[in-house]
């Protein structure tokens, strides 16, 4: 008996001592040199595969979620799962098992934080989801965990007219936000596909037609509220128009595609809607003439509110759609929006624009007579996507699909790159159209393909991507990398830069639960080709 007590006491004492000793260790040496890979980057082969929750841990986590969420906030019906698995525009399909197991709908930042604490504790993979309009597999559930859908967090919290900013929950739809701001003659700077939500736009640094004037999302955000992977809530800044206070966390999260945290609130810059604005259409015999026009316009100090380029194939689709009574020349066409404080200011810019266009062989220069005509003219650009689909379905195949690319290059390289792409496409026998935000030299070459032509199309797209990168371009101007372009990011910026990104990711999300496998690989056993 006595012996047992001694053994027991010894057992407890040594245990306690070891426990206490161990406790002090991480505090007394944060970075034991042989444990922490020294250096500033983390290469993939040097890390072990992530270990996520097993079935029983997953269920425990879900049960804990049920304690804090209402019934209608946790869903796993077939419809919900399917909706959060894919969309019809992503060219790379998700894997057969790449499906979420549960979808949760938080209503507040605090709820997101509580959810993340639980999921981080149990190492459950989380895919943040908002509008579901991304194109590169950004929200694929490659690890079959939870999808955290922020679309119910859609309140406008405050409009500060005198500061020209608006505070929103990140699930607000940008079109609806602009509608509610319109009576006050205000708008946000960024735009994208109509169904995009603010959080998704932030996460992909989205932009669109307005970017040549107002910049991409990165130029239009004042602060963010973010829930980190471990549930910590941070607000990146207060509400000053500019700041130099410490690391720019706001901008670190913009474009991070949900791999570093969940954006729950944002303060966005507002811009007054241009008082006077007109639309100009210029048609040019060649791509080079059109891009020369753009660069000379900038050189003359004119900054149109939009500069969009539609190529000959796109103009053919528009004619085909019969949307206009007028038949357009099927040549490269520029659409401009010119704004100003007074009609005089608009007129003065149009004069210069016309002058430059004609010098660059513009064959058809049309200025909208009034607001209606302006809207009608620009609708060709706005409805381009529908015109494309309409043409493809009628002329190619009922089940035709569209592979959307998103390359940006320096402006001087735009026309040589587009010309070369046209040659590639002709050689391939596929059909395509090109739409470009010419002011930013960001273009979408959208290629039609039938299921049987997928491989051919894929090879063509890859060739195009390489061409863009060889011309000092980027693999994504506004859509993001997602799951479909990871290899091109490495080609674009080099292995070291991507290894540096990976180290940031591992620092902020040590369990690798946040949107795994997006932007770059986080698992040495991941053998995905892209």
């Amino acid at each position: 008996m006595f012996k047992r007590v001694i053994i027991g006491t010894g057992f407890l004492t040594t245990g306690l001592l070891c426990y206490q000793y161990g406790r002090t260790r991480p505090h007394s040496s944060f970075i034991p040199p042989d444990m922490f890979p020294s250096g500033s980057t983390t290469s993939l082969p040097k890390i072990s595969p992530p270990v996520y929750a097993n079935d029983s841990q997953f269920h425990q986590a879900i049960n804990k979620l049920k304690d804090i969420l209402k019934e209608d906030q946790i869903k796993d019906s077939k419809v919900e799962i399917e909706y959060h698995t894919r969309n019809e525009f992503t060219p790379h399909e998700p894997g057969a098992n790449d499906k979420p197991r549960v979808v949760v709908y938080p209503h507040s930042t605090e709820e997101v934080s509580q959810i993340m604490k639980i999921l981080n504790d149990y190492k459950v993979p989380v895919v943040p989801f908002s509008g579901g309009t991304s194109l590169e597999g950004h929200f694929f559930s490659t690890r079959q965990g939870v999808v955290l859908d922020t679309s119910k967090m859609n309140k406008i919290l405050a409009v500060n007219y005198d500061d020209l900013d608006v505070v929103v929950q990140a699930g607000v739809n940008w079109v609806k936000l602009n509608e509610s701001l319109k009576p006050d003659n205000l708008m946000i700077g960024s735009d994208c596909g109509p169904d995009g939500l603010i959080s998704g736009m932030i996460n992909t640094n989205a932009s669109g037609i307005n970017a040549s004037k107002y910049g991409a999302m990165i130029s239009n955000v004042i602060n963010l509220t973010v829930v980190l992977p471990d549930g910590t809530i941070i607000k990146t800044k207060q509400r000053p128009r500019k700041t130099s206070s410490g690391y720019s966390l706001t901008h670190l999260f913009i474009g991070s595609e949900g791999t570093l945290g969940i954006v729950t609130e944002a303060t966005l810059k507002l811009h007054p809607i241009p008082k006077f604005e007109t639309v100009i259409v210029g048609q040019f015999p060649s791509l080079l003439d059109s891009t020369n026009t753009v660069s000379q316009i900038y050189r003359n100090g004119i900054h149109p509110n939009a500069i969009e380029l539609l190529d000959a194939d796109m103009m053919h689709c528009i004619n085909y759609s019969g949307y206009f009574s007028k038949e357009w020349d099927e040549v490269p066409t520029l659409y401009f929006k010119i704004g100003g404080l007074t009609p005089t200011m608009v007129e003065e810019q149009v004069k210069v624009l016309k002058d430059i266009s004609l010098k660059n062989n513009c064959t058809n220069f049309i200025k909208a007579k009034d607001k209606e005509e302006a809207e009608e003219l620009f609708s060709a650009r706005k409805n381009a996507f529908y015109a494309i689909l309409n043409y493809g379905k009628n002329e190619i195949n009922e089940d035709v699909r569209l592979w959307v690319t998103d390359i940006a290059v320096p402006l001087s390289k735009l026309s040589p790159v587009l010309n070369e792409i046209n040659t590639m496409i002709r050689k391939s026998g596929l059909q395509s159209i090109i739409l470009a935000h010419a002011g930013d030299a960001n273009f979408h070459c959208d290629v039609f393909y039938r299921e049987s032509e997928k491989e051919k199309c894929e090879a063509l797209i890859n060739e195009m991507m390489d061409l863009g990168l060889a011309n000092e371009g980027t693999s994504s101007g506004e859509h993001g990398i997602g799951n479909g372009k990871r290899n091109f990011l490495v080609k674009e910026l080099g292995q070291d830069t991507v290894d540096f990104m990976r180290r940031i990711k591992l620092a902020v999300d040590p369990n690798r639960i946040m949107n795994p496998d997006k932007i770059f690989k986080i698992d040495p056993e991941d053998d995905g080709p892209y």
Partner: protein, 559 residues
Amino acid sequence: MFRLVRRLGPLKPTTLLKSRFYSGAQPKPPNTDILIKSLIFTAGSIVGGYLYSSEVQQSTKSTLPIDQVTSPEYANKEQLAQAIEAVKKVFRKNTPDYDESLIINSSQEDKDSHSDTYFNSYHPEPNEEPQYVIYPRSTEEVSEVLKICNKYKVPVVPITGKSSLEGHFINTRRGVCIDISLMDEVIELNQQDLDIKVQAGLGWETLADYLSEYNLLFPIDPGPGASIGGICANNASGTNASRYGECYKNVLSLTVVLADGTIIKTKNRPRKSSAGYNLNSLFIGSEGTLGIITEATLKLYVKPKIERVAVVPFKSIQDAANSVNSYLLNGMQLNAIELLDDKMMSCINASGETSRKWTEAPTLFLKIGGSNDKVVQSTVDQVKTLSSQHNSIDFQFARNDEETEELWSARKVALWSTINQGRVTDPSIKLWTTDAAVPISKLPQFLEETKEDIANNGLENTLVAHIGDGNAHSFILYKPDQYKLAEKVVDNMVRRAIAYEGTCTGEHGVGLGKRQFLLEEVGGDAVDLMRNIKLHLDPSRILNPDKIFQIDPKESRSH
């Protein structure tokens, strides 16, 4: 322990041994008595270790509080000497006609000039100076030097123009200074793409001269002497920011040498990109704590064909601010929107540094640009109308280039006329340049309260504001024995800005002087996230130690 290892990399044999040692398992063979004891010991260890390891799970956190970090260990004298020897070897190899003093300098003069300036608000302790100043001449040399410094754990303070104000380049750890001012070349100008690639040691004024030949403009215009590297590292701006934005909006790509010497390029050269993490903005504003910026590709703009200046005095700051708000809400794009307060205006009058006398009232200085006279005139008319609706007292407008320069001269001499005026009363007078920004609607109240507080404390001050961005600088004059008093009113000003949803620094950065305020501004968790990022990217903590936030729990400065 094991989880920690997993998180960071594969186990190495040494680690395994160590972790076993931590758990206390030291089995010693034979002798049954000892065997039993050691069994007890081992069992206890396993349980203790298990409990401990479940506790270690906490380090799967996204942030890193200061109390979870130990003090960094840096090179001792001997290691520093070894490191310097290694650096010399690199330079000798790279330079045929090697003149050591030009490349590695340890003269007192050089040490002093790399420790402090008159304008710094926050000064080094007597022993805080670099042991050596190293002048690399290429990205590759910076990389080789950093590899060596990282190996020997030599603290490194990167320096360019030395025009920062918050003790950004104080050598708190007595390491080396890497001065990249010899790297000042223009690498490539792409006129058609409106961008330029330069080395980071290039001064912005030199760049401006170079570009004006092409009628082009890089819009960041901070204080004189600043270089591109420092501008990027502080996200600097100036009078042009209300039109063109701060530094981060005007950089396309950076070449950066990381703490371990790895060279990375953040982006290619497209105008916009959504490819991966936004590393440009991570380095911009990081004050040399994450890497050394050696090259930058910058956005350029075409100089306005015609640019005129309007000077508009108002009855009150509130009226001036309301007027600015009406310009912005009407969608006017003015090239600069600056406010000088009544004291600043009387100071300029007293200094006699400009050719005309000014109304001594809060005054807006506006730059109005356009492609021709008609466009400019059209904007001027609108500005005039809106201003008079907000109680402007006067409206002076330059009709030609000469008058434009004359009117703007008042804004240009603001800082020096304040110092000169101060020196009239006391030749040893000091100047504290403050920097805070608030949402524009809060600016008038913020400024009025700040002016009142400074005056109540008996200190002379003048004020200029980049009012279009809500960013203000009070120039506070104080005698050397009034440092504490000056510090108090500055602290009040910064805290007031934070209380008004603003920031402790609009464009100067945090350095050493504002670390406490950063904490108050964004909160402990956000700073802990910054620290976590820093310690992962610079595990030996060699890059500009102690700046922006604390990296050493034992270090205790007042700021």
